[in-house]
Symmetry: C2
Subunit: 83 residues, 2 copies
DNA sequence: TAGAAATATCCGATTTGGCGCATAAACAAA
DNA sequence: TTTGTTTATGCGCCAAATCGGATATTTCTA
């Protein structure tokens, strides 16, 4: 599992994976993050216009957080992100 | 400089710092990111409702990127973020 | 201190998130 | 297949981002 998050799609995929790893439904995650199930669905499917604060709330609910780092070349471990 | 990005404010601060380190004006950064100078201003001042894709575009223009990691306790190095 | 450069604000228009509420569609299990 | 769960959509609404265009306002520098 890569933690590279360059696109809304990648972020959505990571959120979905983290949620499932914790055995949470979208509704449960939505409750914890203080948003609606619909919003989780949109984020996981890569909604590019999601609000920053919403993403942050969802990550926090998953015990995750963003880190800002220097852009690196996407390596072999990131191949999955291409498709 | 911490790369912890839990709030719109922290993200805004990091963007501003990275921009200045590269000696770019908001207008120059805005051009590179394909947004308006006003938008950069809003992001740097911690606009919580910024669009995800806008943030990503700005980070890319600064050769930065998000990484999603497990939430950690904010340590001494993150004190600045509190104020 | 004057003038320029940089940043913060404002108007009107368009677009869209996220809300409440509701339901359809997809999936899994019995 | 049937039922229950989960996820994706839909409608109307309000708030706000972002845009084009422009201007205050703060900051720096010559």
């Amino acid at each position: 599992m890569t933690d590279l998050a360059r696109t809304p799609q990648q972020i959505g995929n990571l959120v979905r994976r983290a949620r499932k790893k914790r055995d949470l439904s979208q509704t449960q995650l939505a409750d914890q993050a203080g948003v609606r199930q619909e919003t989780i669905s949109l984020i996981e499917t890569g909604n590019p216009a999601a609000r920053l604060e919403t993403i942050l709330a969802v990550l926090a609910a998953l015990d995750l957080e963003f880190r800002i780092v220097a852009r690196r070349k996407a390596g072999p471990a990131d191949i999955e992100e291409i498709f």
